[in-house]
C-alpha cells in the first residue's frame, strides 16, 4: 500500500535531488553545451560557511522560524480549542479563516506592501487618525521593524493552517476522556493539561514540523516586501540560495546552501518531534 506512493515520489524526485546534491560537490560552469562539472569536493560548502552573508541569513531565518512557529502554535491552538465545539456558523467561519492561507504568497506580500507603504499605506493612516503616532512609521525601513512586519504577514497567512492541523487532532480526543477527567474532579485547566495536551502531541509535532518547513523556505515575503533589505538584514537562506543560483549563476555554492538548508530543517524537525514526544513511524504503544 505504501509502494505506489513511494514509487511515484521516488521516480520524480530522486534524480533531481541527487543531481542537485552532486552539483553542490562540483565547480560548475554554464556553457552553450550545458553545465560543465569539475569535482570540487566540499569547497562549495567551505565558501558557504565562510560567507558572512550566509551567517547573517542563517541567524535571521532561525530567529524568524522560532518566533513565528511559537506564535503560530499558540494562536492556532487557541483558535482550534475555541472552535472545537458545536458553534453556530462554524463551517462558514472556517472557510473565512482559510482565506489568508489560500492566497498566493507573492500576492499577499504585495498586499502587505501596499498596507505597510510609508506614504499612502493604510496602516500608517489608521494609526495617525487614531493619534497613535505623529508621523508615518516606515515599517520596512529598519531591520527590526522590517523583520517584525514580515513576521506579522506570515503569522496572518499561516496560523489558519496550523489551526486546521490542530483542529483535526482535537477531533481524535474522545469526549469520554474529558468526562472521566471531570469525574476525577479536574477543572477546565487541569483537563486541558492532563487530557488535551498529551493527546494532542502528535498533532502539535506535525504543526511544528509543517511550520519549520515553511519558515525555512521563507522567500516570497522578503523578496517582495524588502528585497532582503534594509541592507541585507532580512535576507533569508532561501533567498540566498535563489540569488546565488538564479541571479549570480553560482550553481555550486547555491545548491550547497540548499543542501545545508535541508540538513538544518531535518535537525530542527527531529528536535521538535522529540520535544513533543511524538512517534515518527514505529508501531504505536
Amino acid at each position: 500500500m505504501v509502494s505506489p506512493a513511494l514509487l511515484f515520489v521516488a521516480l520524480v524526485t530522486l534524480f533531481p535531488i541527487g543531481y542537485s546534491i552532486w552539483m553542490s560537490l562540483n565547480h560548475i560552469q554554464s556553457s552553450t553545451n550545458g553545465f560543465q562539472f569539475s569535482f570540487a569536493g566540499l569547497s562549495n560548502y567551505k565558501i558557504v560557511f565562510n560567507s558572512p552573508l550566509f551567517h547573517q541569513a542563517l541567524i535571521f531565518t532561525i530567529v524568524y522560524a522560532v518566533v513565528t512557529v511559537l506564535v503560530e502554535l499558540v494562536l492556532g491552538l487557541l483558535v482550534a480549542l475555541a472552535i472545537n465545539q458545536p458553534i453556530k456558523g462554524r463551517g462558514f467561519a472556517i472557510a473565512i479563516m482559510l482565506i489568508p492561507w489560500t492566497l498566493i504568497t507573492v500576492i499577499s506580500a504585495q498586499m502587505w506592501g501596499y498596507i505597510y507603504n510609508g506614504v499612502y499605506g493604510v496602516l500608517d493612516y489608521l494609526m495617525q487618525s487614531l493619534h497613535l503616532i505623529n508621523s508615518p512609521i516606515v515599517w520596512l525601513g529598519t531591520p527590526n521593524l522590517a523583520t517584525i512586519s514580515i513576521m506579522i504577514a506570515d503569522v496572518w497567512k499561516t496560523t489558519p493552517f496550523v489551526t486546521m492541523i490542530l483542529l483535526a487532532g482535537l477531533q481524535l480526543i474522545p469526549s469520554d476522556l474529558y468526562e472521566a477527567a471531570k469525574i476525577d474532579g479536574a477543572g477546565a485547566f487541569r483537563s486541558f493539561f492532563s487530557v488535551t495536551l498529551p493527546l494532542l502531541r502528535p498533532s502539535l509535532a506535525l504543526a511544528a514540523l509543517f511550520r519549520i518547513l515553511q519558515a525555512f523556505g521563507l522567500f516570497d515575503l522578503p523578496f517582495v516586501l524588502t528585497g532582503g533589505g534594509p541592507g541585507t538584514s532580512t535576507m533569508s537562506i532561501a533567498m540566498l540560495a535563489y540569488k546565488a543560483i538564479f541571479n549570480d549563476f553560482e550553481y555550486g555554492p547555491g545548491t550547497a546552501v540548499a543542501v545545508i538548508t535541508v540538513l538544518i530543517i531535518l535537525i530542527m524537525s527531529l528536535i521538535s518531534i522529540k520535544a513533543f514526544r511524538a512517534q515518527v513511524g514505529e508501531v504505536e504503544e
Binding site: 554554464s30 506614504v119 508615518p136 525601513g141 528585497g227 541585507t232 555554492p253
Partner: protein, 430 residues
C-alpha cells in the same frame, strides 16, 4: 495475510496513476506544422501592454513566411532571468529570441546563454544604433544583444510649484535640495524629492548617477574597485542628507519605481527621479499632475559642468544559442531595430528608440519632452561588463541601502562595498 491483495492494490493504483498521466498527455499542446517558420519570442510586458503584439503584427505583415509566437515573461526582471536561464541552460530550443536587460550581456555571454551576433549581422548594422549602446552589449569583443529600446534616468519636476515659489529648475543637486526645502517651508508640497532607494538593482542605477556626478567610479581603469574614494563619500553623504533633511521621505529607502511614481502622481512630491515611462505615466488621465510636469536631464553637483549623468537602462534582443531558426531570428531582430519598428515604438508608445536616425529625427523629438532631451543628457552605464555583474550590483545596492537607512556610517558602507566588490569579481563566491 492479505499480501496478495496489497500487491494487486499497488498495481491498481500504479496503473491508475499511469492513466492519469495518459489522460494528462491528451491535453498536451498539439504541435502544428506548416510551411511558415514559427519563432518564439520571450518578452516581459513593456510599459504599454499592447506594444509587443502590435509590433509582431506589423512584422508578420511584411514577413508572411515568419510567424512570431509571443511568450509573455514575468514583469519582475529577476524572475524573468531565472526562467530564461533555466530553459536555455537546459538546452531548450525555445524561446528563439528573448528580450533581456541591458546589463545581461556579460553574464549571459560567459554562461553560454546568448549567441554572439557578429557572424549573422553585417558590420554596418551595428552602426545604425545610437552611440554607446552596442558597446554596452559587447563582451570580449563580440556583440551579444541588439539594442531594442533604451532608457535613462531623468529628473521630473512640478512646473506649477516652482512657478509659485519663483524657483528655477535645478541644475545642481544642491539647488534641488534647496528648492525642496523652500517648497516644504511654504507648505506647497508634502515631500521634496522622491527616487528609488530600496535594496535592489534600481538603487545601483540611482547610485551610478550621484557617483559619476561626484567624479567617482566603481572600478578604475585597471579593474580595481574604488568605491571608497572621496567622491563616493561625497555622493553617499549627499544622498543621506536628502533623507536626514526631510527633502526625501524616510520611506524612500523602501521605494522602487512604482512607489516613487505613485507619490509623484498623487501630487505629493516636487521632484522625481525616474525612467522614460514616468512622462506618459504622470500624464495619464486622472493623476493629480496632468499638465504640471516638466522633465530635464539629471542635475550634477555644484561646480561641475552640467548636465549630470543619467544611468542607461533598457532592453536588448538576444538569440538563444539552441534556436533552430537562426535565420528567421536574425530577420526578426533586424526588423525590430529598423527605422519602421523604432518609429512605431517611439511615436505610438513613447519608448526611446535605439536606432540613431529615429532617435534624432526632429519629428520624433517633438512628440514628447523626454524624447526631446535624450540627446542632450550625459549617460553612464552600470559596471556590467563582467560575468559577475549581479554580485557587483548587489554589493553596491545592499551597502548603499544600509547606509541610507542609517544602519552603518557612510564610510563603513563604502568600505564594505569595496571589499565585497573585490570578491564579487572572482568566481565562486556568495
Amino acid at each position: 495475510m492479505k499480501k496478495s491483495l496489497l500487491v494487486s492494490m499497488s498495481v491498481l493504483s500504479a496503473s491508475a496513476m499511469t492513466m492519469t498521466i495518459m489522460t494528462g498527455s491528451a491535453f498536451a499542446s498539439a504541435k502544428h506544422s506548416s510551411a511558415v517558420t514559427t519563432i518564439d519570442w520571450a518578452a516581459s510586458p513593456i510599459s504599454n501592454v499592447g506594444i509587443r503584439k502590435a509590433l509582431i503584427q506589423l512584422f508578420e505583415k511584411t514577413h508572411p513566411n515568419i510567424h512570431v509566437r509571443l511568450t509573455s515573461q514575468p514583469t519582475n526582471t529577476d524572475t524573468n532571468r531565472a526562467s530564461l536561464a533555466t530553459e536555455i541552460s537546459g538546452g531548450s530550443a525555445t524561446p528563439d529570441v528573448f528580450m533581456g536587460d541591458v546589463v545581461w550581456p556579460g553574464q549571459f555571454a560567459s554562461a553560454g546563454l546568448a549567441l554572439p551576433l557578429n557572424h549573422y549581422f553585417p558590420k554596418s548594422y551595428f552602426n545604425s544604433f545610437a552611440p554607446g549602446l552596442v558597446q554596452g552589449a559587447t563582451y570580449k569583443g563580440k556583440v551579444y544583444g541588439a539594442p531594442f529600446f533604451m532608457d535613462a534616468g531623468f529628473l521630473y519636476y512640478r512646473k506649477d510649484l516652482l512657478a509659485k515659489a519663483h524657483l528655477p529648475v535645478p541644475k545642481t543637486w544642491e539647488q534641488l535640495a534647496n528648492d525642496s526645502k523652500v517648497l516644504l517651508k511654504k507648505h506647497l508640497v508634502r515631500y521634496g524629492f522622491v527616487w528609488e532607494g530600496a535594496s535592489y538593482e534600481g538603487l545601483t542605477c540611482n547610485w551610478m548617477e550621484y557617483l559619476t556626478d561626484a567624479g567617482g567610479q566603481v572600478f578604475n581603469a585597471a579593474g580595481k574597485p574604488v568605491m571608497n574614494s572621496p567622491a563616493a563619500v561625497k555622493a553617499l553623504t549627499f544622498m543621506r542628507s536628502l533623507i536626514a533633511s526631510g527633502v526625501s521621505p524616510k520611506s524612500v529607502t523602501t521605494f522602487q519605481e512604482p512607489q516613487a511614481m505613485n507619490v509623484f502622481n498623487a501630487g505629493d512630491a516636487a521632484f522625481l527621479r525616474n525612467w522614460d515611462y514616468a512622462w506618459s505615466n504622470s500624464q495619464t488621465k486622472g493623476t493629480s499632475v496632468v499638465g504640471k510636469v516638466g522633465v530635464v536631464p539629471m542635475p550634477t553637483f555644484a561646480g561641475k559642468k552640467g548636465p549630470g549623468y543619467g544611468n542607461i537602462g533598457g532592453w536588448n534582443l538576444y538569440i538563444n544559442p539552441h534556436s533552430k531558426n537562426i535565420q528567421a531570428d536574425v530577420t526578426f531582430i533586424k526588423w525590430m531595430t529598423s527605422v519602421q519598428a523604432q518609429t512605431v515604438l517611439a511615436s505610438k508608445y513613447s519608448e526611446i528608440p535605439t536606432n540613431n536616425q529615429v532617435q534624432h529625427d526632429p519629428k520624433i523629438k517633438k512628440l514628447n519632452p523626454v524624447l526631446a532631451i535624450v540627446g542632450s543628457e550625459h549617460l553612464v552605464p552600470r559596471p556590467a561588463q563582467s560575468p559577475n555583474y549581479p554580485k557587483v550590483s548587489s554589493a553596491i545596492y545592499q551597502n548603499v541601502n544600509a547606509a541610507l537607512s542609517g544602519q552603518v556610517s557612510v564610510q563603513t558602507a563604502l568600505n564594505n562595498a569595496n571589499s565585497q566588490l573585490a570578491s564579487a569579481s572572482s568566481s565562486s563566491s556568495l
